[in-house]
């Protein structure tokens, strides 16, 4: 099972990526290609490398080997004259990241800023928009996740579900090419999961490219164009939701699904 080497339409292209933390090899050669508007759900047991893969795509972790491309750029590198890839400066790396949205398991909202300031801050300082423009975009993104009325509320006064929706608005405000979701509902009380999944479902309908690490099998089934099962640092099985969730071929996929469903 290997991805084609060159897929021009791919927004995210991952090739033979390996990552080791000390003695533990977390990613053992992962290949993945995600097309525009595709929603890819990554499932698998904890410690299988799902989150690390996401973090590599966003350059929060640097892979030990392999190649990552997002929107035509080598992640963390710059193409120089000739065949060399030079590791890029922190400034260029930051610019690359600004095109990739990320939603974290523990929301990671900035607690010293109100909801709207959380959404605004990168628009102002990374995109360098004027105060009025940034506020405009921030408010429309908050409305989109149904939280315009909470604009001037600090995160500590929001429920977990509301915080995660603000975090999604914050990622979307940057107009990203792709949004990475790292177990976005795992830290939520059960009754708050739905509001976040609903926002994500709406987002998928707008054609946003999404890679979602999740344990919500129903979401993967309904929204995911493709489901990938990861275990032991490799992608063991991939296909449509029906193929992977209903007719898993790999025995480890079957064992995992038997546990969670």
């Amino acid at each position: 099972m290997s991805a084609p080497l060159f897929q021009p339409e791919a927004i995210v292209h991952v090739e033979k990526v390996r990552k080791r933390f000390g003695h533990l090899e977390v990613l053992k050669g992962v290949d993945l290609s995600v097309k525009k508007s595709e929603v890819v759900c990554l499932i698998g047991p904890s410690g299988s490398g799902k989150s690390t893969l996401l973090r590599c795509i966003n350059n929060l972790e640097r892979p030990d080997s392999g190649t990552l491309m997002v929107a035509g750029h080598y992640v963390g590198f710059e193409r120089r004259s000739g065949d060399s890839l030079r590791e890029c400066s922190a400034r260029v790396a930051a610019r690359q990241r600004s095109q990739i949205g990320m939603v974290f398991q523990r929301f990671n909202l900035f607690p010293h800023m109100t909801a709207v300031q959380n959404v605004e801050v990168a628009l102002r300082h990374v995109r360098r928009l004027s105060k009025a423009e940034a506020l405009d975009i921030a408010m429309s993104q908050l409305s989109r996740v149904g939280l315009a009325s909470k604009a001037s509320t600090y995160p500590s006064h929001l429920s977990g579900g509301q915080q995660q929706r603000v975090a999604i608005a914050r990622a979307l405000a940057m107009d990203p090419m792709v949004v990475l979701f790292d177990e976005p509902t795992s830290a939520l009380d059960p009754e708050l999961v739905k509001e976040v999944l609903d926002v994500m479902r709406d987002l998928a309908l707008t054609g946003m490219t999404m890679i979602v690490v999740t344990h919500e099998m129903a979401f993967a089934r309904d929204v995911g164009d493709r489901v990938l099962f990861m275990d032991g640092g490799v992608i063991l099985e991939e296909g449509t939701a029906e193929e992977v969730l209903d007719r898993p071929r790999n025995s480890r996929t079957r064992a995992f699904l038997a546990h969670v469903q």
Binding site: N58, A94, I100, N108, F110, P111, H112, S156
Partner: protein, 310 residues
């Protein structure tokens, strides 16, 4: 089995029983003793015929004393500014990924935390003994931008500023470092993921949150610095303490003048303490419940006596 007939119930006699509050006799006795000792102590000072309290009133607003107060405040502010700027920079280096930055900042903290402030004060003041001139130029060339006599540069004020500022910067950097380490690592990741560069991440996300943990000890450090500036009097700086010494060396009203500047130190630390409260409120935004009546909290203790009598 326990018989139910004897158990107290809401009916009958129990409803009319009077509730008697606890009487902490031991506390009352100890408290009275403490008050007596305090009054006695105050009386021995106030009734001491060797202390002329009218001197305090006479000198409290004397022009020399006010000048000394101004010098104390200026030196405190300037030295704290030096300490805070350097302290933040050192702490940022201390938490960086670069091993050279980390080691150098660690050595800096080690040295400046080890040398007593008083000793450093005297060293800076006597620097002319080893470096007669201070030259600003480009190393390795004969290009000289400026040259000064060390004694002209290191006035008592500048020497005090350097000694107290540098000594404090080492301690302050540790306070800042503690604050930086207290910020959740997810915050840095979220800032990076939004495309902030390292400096923006520090300025917009990490540092403002660290401030919440840095501000309370900063108030203490400023108050400490206010008092440390009195050391500068030994190299001839005319702060409050130096002024008092100058005046009593001629009129011999030693204790009276020391008490006079005591009053000023107490006034200054009280004002700083109040300021600290408001600054802490400012940086506590977004954490816990906000107090709808901030001023009341400050004034409330003054009114506590009345509300307790109710």
């Amino acid at each position: 089995m326990v018989s139910l007939s004897g158990s107290p119930g809401p009916s009958g006699e129990t409803a009319t029983l009077r509730k008697v509050p606890r009487r902490p006799y031991a506390q009352w006795i100890l408290a009275s003793a403490l008050v007596a000792i305090t009054v006695q102590f105050a009386a021995t000072i106030l009734r001491n015929p060797n202390i002329d309290f009218s001197v305090i009133g006479r000198y409290l607003f004397a022009p020399e004393v006010i000048d000394g107060l101004r010098n104390t405040l200026v030196l405190t502010a300037a030295a704290m500014l030096v300490a805070m700027v350097l302290g933040v920079a050192i702490a940022a280096l201390r938490t960086s990924h670069n091993a050279v930055y980390r080691s150098l900042s660690r050595i800096y903290v080690w040295i400046f935390r080890s040398v007593p402030a008083l000793l450093m004060l005297v060293i800076w003041f006597n620097l002319a003994l080893v470096f007669e001139n201070l030259t600003l130029g480009i190393p390795g060339t004969s290009l000289v931008i400026g040259e000064w006599q060390t004694n002209d540069v290191l006035t008592p004020f500048i020497a005090s500023l350097l000694a107290l500022g540098l000594a404090e910067s080492a301690f302050y950097s540790e306070i800042v470092r503690g604050g930086l380490l207290g910020v959740d690592s997810g915050q840095r990741e979220a800032a990076k993921a939004l495309g902030m560069n390292p400096f923006q991440t520090f300025r917009l996300v990490i540092f403002p949150q660290a401030l919440r943990m840095i501000v309370p000890p900063t108030g203490n450090e400023i108050i400490g610095m206010l008092k440390y500036t009195s050391l500068a009097s030994i190299i001839g700086f005319t702060d409050l303490m130096g002024t008092a010494q100058q005046i009593y060396s001629t009129n011999l009203l030693t204790i009276e003048l020391l008490l006079t500047v005591c009053v000023w130190y107490i006034v200054c630390t009280s004002v700083l303490g109040l300021g600290q409260y408001f600054v802490e409120r400012r940086y506590g935004r977004g954490y816990g419940s906000s107090d709808p009546r901030p001023y009341w909290r400050v004034l409330a203790p003054a009114f506590r006596f009345r509300s307790n009598t109710r």
